[in-house]
């Protein structure tokens, strides 16, 4: 295993220093760190961050290998500075058994570019009717800790209560896609002035907020952990703030696109801007940014959702919802200027690693810590070219935008997955 000497990196914005990476761990930190034969990486001007951790990734394998595979999604993740991703369960077949989650986990191991941690489905087939074998998934090789029917809300309150209770036995967490389905029948776009004008069925903020409020109360009642996926409204931020004050064990994530874009993008009817939950308003964007900076929202998660061209190059209402996110997330968060380097490390690495129970991730580079880290050039900018992204799909909403920050290198357990801004495999 090659030993690396990273010279002149600023660890989470601190004074530049050197890092020695050997045998999968950070062996030494400091200007005197050295080892004979080490490969030197010039990190002058670069920021070293703990490897990013994504709580919400769609890798599409098994089932839609035309849109993304574990390999291609892993490459996109590494290029985005990630060392761990939680792969959502809405594959085909659904990841609702130990067999499927183990398959995804093994594909991740074989790809070797990022720790792929499968999320298990809460209910069989995501149908919202009966619990999947959560315990079997938890004790499988994939050691599942996060369970989610993402894409669907666990809308039955009794089933949700049971799920919250049941996963306590293995320190699991239910990640809820908060969407009251009866309020979003046929919904296409944030319900507001624009949905009315464009003649697209509205997705009202209350459909998200009502479920978050209900589930926070349920989690409090049964003393369980609850995680809220892709929070998108100002009202949701307020509800989560209140729940945390009340001592409820609730965590929440926000996507980069909800931190930057608004429903105004839908004016073109270009479905690349169609996503679930939908893009909201300026007020929501401001509240989400503030909630993230304050810590009411615990983490940034990409909701990386690759879709084949034919599922996006069509009429808005027939298009699938979702956007690519892994390769652009860090740059988008940087562009919002809402977080310091420490804030970025906290919201994109340390806290999501804790929520997912990933002990080897989310730790600042220091002697003895597993070498999961990424080196970012804060001065570099880049223009998003959909065809140049590592994802098999092209549905980025940022095409043509010039973004700040470039991931120059990523290390997973001491091995480079990205060097000189290129994936190592």
């Amino acid at each position: 295993m090659t030993t690396y000497l990273i010279k002149g990196a600023s660890i989470v914005g601190a004074e530049p220093t050197d890092l020695l990476i050997r045998d999968g761990v950070v062996a030494a930190v400091g200007r005197d760190a050295a080892a004979p034969g080490a490969e030197v990486i010039d990190a002058d001007g670069l920021i070293a961050l703990p490897g990013l951790v994504d709580l919400h990734t769609h890798l599409r394998e098994p089932g839609r290998e035309d849109a993304e595979t574990v390999m291609s999604g892993s490459r996109a993740a590494a290029l985005g500075g990630y060392t761990a991703v939680c792969a959502m369960a809405n594959t085909d077949p659904v990841a609702d058994t130990a067999g499927v989650v183990e398959q995804v986990w093994r594909l991740g191991q074989a790809a070797g570019l990022v720790d792929v941690r499968p999320v298990g489905a809460v209910t069989v087939g995501l149908a919202g009717e009966r619990l999947a074998e959560l315990g079997a998934m938890a004790t499988s090789a994939a050691a599942v800790r996060i369970f989610s029917d993402d894409g669907h809300c666990v809308s039955d309150p009794r089933l949700m209560r049971r799920a919250l209770e049941y996963v306590k036995a293995f320190d699991g967490v239910i990640a809820q896609h908060a969407e009251e389905p009866r309020l979003t029948v046929g919904a296409q776009l944030h319900e507001g002035e624009l949905s009315g004008r464009l003649g697209l069925a509205g997705w009202p903020a209350v459909a998200e907020e009502a479920i978050i409020a209900r589930d926070a109360l349920l989690a409090g009642h049964v003393g369980s952990r609850l995680h809220i996926c892709h929070v998108s409204t100002a009202g949701s931020v307020e509800i989560i703030r209140g729940a945390k004050r009340a001592g409820i064990r609730i965590t929440a994530e926000v996507t980069p696109h909800h931190l930057l874009l608004t429903d105004a993008r839908a004016e073109s009817y270009d479905p690349v801007f169609k996503v679930n939950p939908p893009l909201r308003t300026d007020t929501d964007v401001a509240a989400l940014r503030a909630g993230l900076a304050e810590g009411v929202i615990d983490a940034v998660a990409t909701d990386h959702a690759p879709h084949a061209v034919e599922d996006k190059e069509c009429e808005w209402q027939y298009a699938r919802p979702g956007m690519l996110g892994l390769e652009t997330a860090l740059s988008i968060v940087m562009s919002t200027k809402s977080l310091s380097w420490d804030g970025i490390a906290e919201r994109m690495s340390r806290v999501p690693a804790r929520i997912a129970g990933l002990d080897g991730h989310g730790r600042d580079p220091a002697p003895g810590v597993p070498a999961n880290l990424t080196l970012v050039d804060p001065a570099a900018t880049w223009v998003v070219e959909p065809a140049e992204l590592a994802s098999l799909s092209r549905n980025t909403p940022y095409a043509g935008m010039e973004l700040p920050g470039r991931v120059m290198a990523t290390f997973l357990a001491g091995r480079p997955t990205v060097l000189d801004g290129k994936a190592t495999k």
Partner: protein, 316 residues
């Protein structure tokens, strides 16, 4: 291509007609004036003009709408265009060819204009990205139907002599109505005052930012209007609890003889068709002399001739 298309900053009717908002007052007035001239011509024994000879107009219909398709077909044929009717059964992506592939096919066939009716809002906007010819929106989902608004404006102007300063009430299922959206935009552009009337469930969220007034009370609005336009209300809406029953809807928002008497004497009654007689409009109202419903159909051909003429043929 018209001169106007080469200099879009000059206003006028340019490129595509996707939304009533594409037309400023000058452009809309140009369409109405052109329609009037073309209507006069169609009173002649030979109704055909050679203007669009050798040009191809495709009627691309993803929804059954015999009325609208025939109207566009008659309009194009009277201008001597070659007309291709292309009906696509079933509107879901799971069936048949994608809109993009159809667009590329039409492009390869050299369509100069594509008239599209589609169940999905915004489909004409998508189509316009994939074809070079002019795209005319003949109704997209619950979004817009700009030529319907033009023919309605034309009808109001020919009956009442003007549009500026008219008070127009549009009554019914505004939420799901492409006719209401296009009319609200166009009539506002042309200086009329629009009031949208319906139960709160059928007025869109955000309607307060539209350039219109709104009311839940039809009877309060009627005495002050020059035009009342009833929108088609689909009975299925009851199943979604937008209103309790057809009878209650008719009682609160239907145009019946008693309500007709509340209108000023000169006021006219309009309906885009097809009507649910006895629901949003009573038969005796639909057939009364104040009703312009049959005229609207005739005017539709003239207005669509004007649109195709201006988009494809040039200026008057």
């Amino acid at each position: 291509m018209t001169n106007l298309e080469q200099s879009p900053d000059r206003g006028g009717i340019t490129g595509h007609l996707l939304s009533a908002a594409d037309l400023d007052a000058a452009a809309a007035t140009q369409v109405l004036d052109t329609a009037a001239e073309l209507a006069a011509l169609s009173d002649r024994s030979v109704k055909k003009l050679p203007t669009l000879r050798g040009r191809t107009v495709v009627n691309l219909f993803y929804e059954d709408s015999t009325r609208t398709r025939i109207s566009f077909e008659a309009a194009a044929k009277r201008l001597s265009a070659d007309v291709i009717n292309f009906s696509v059964k079933g509107s879901s992506v799971s069936k048949g060819e994608s809109l993009k592939d159809t667009a590329l096919t039409l492009q390869a066939m050299g369509a100069d204009a594509v008239v599209i009716r589609h169940a999905a809002s915004g489909a004409p906007h998508r189509l316009a990205r994939w074809v070079d010819g002019s795209v005319v929106n003949a109704g997209d989902g619950t979004h817009e139907h700009p030529t319907q608004a033009l023919l309605d404006a034309y009808t109001m102007r020919s009956r009442l002599g003007r549009l500026s300063g008219l008070t127009v009430a549009i009554v019914g299922d505004v939420l799901h109505s492409r006719v209401a959206r296009s009319n609200a935009l166009l009539l506002n552009t042309l200086g009329a005052d629009v009031t949208l009337v319906g139960p709160p469930t059928l007025l869109p969220v955000g309607v307060d930012s539209w350039p219109v007034k709104t009311s839940y009370d039809l009877d309060a609005v009627l005495p002050t209007v020059d035009v009342v336009m009833a929108l088609r209300v689909q009975r299925e809406r009851m199943e979604d609890s937008f209103f309790p029953s057809a009878r209650e809807y008719a009682r609160r928002y239907g145009l019946d003889a008693a309500r007709l008497r509340k209108l000023p004497e000169h006021a006219i009654v309009m309906h885009p068709g097809p009507m649910n007689r006895g629901m949003e409009i009573a038969p005796d109202v639909a057939d009364s002399p104040r009703s312009t419903i049959v005229e609207q159909v005739a005017n539709g051909v003239s207005v669509r001739m004007a649109v195709l003429y201006l988009l494809l043929g040039g200026q008057v």
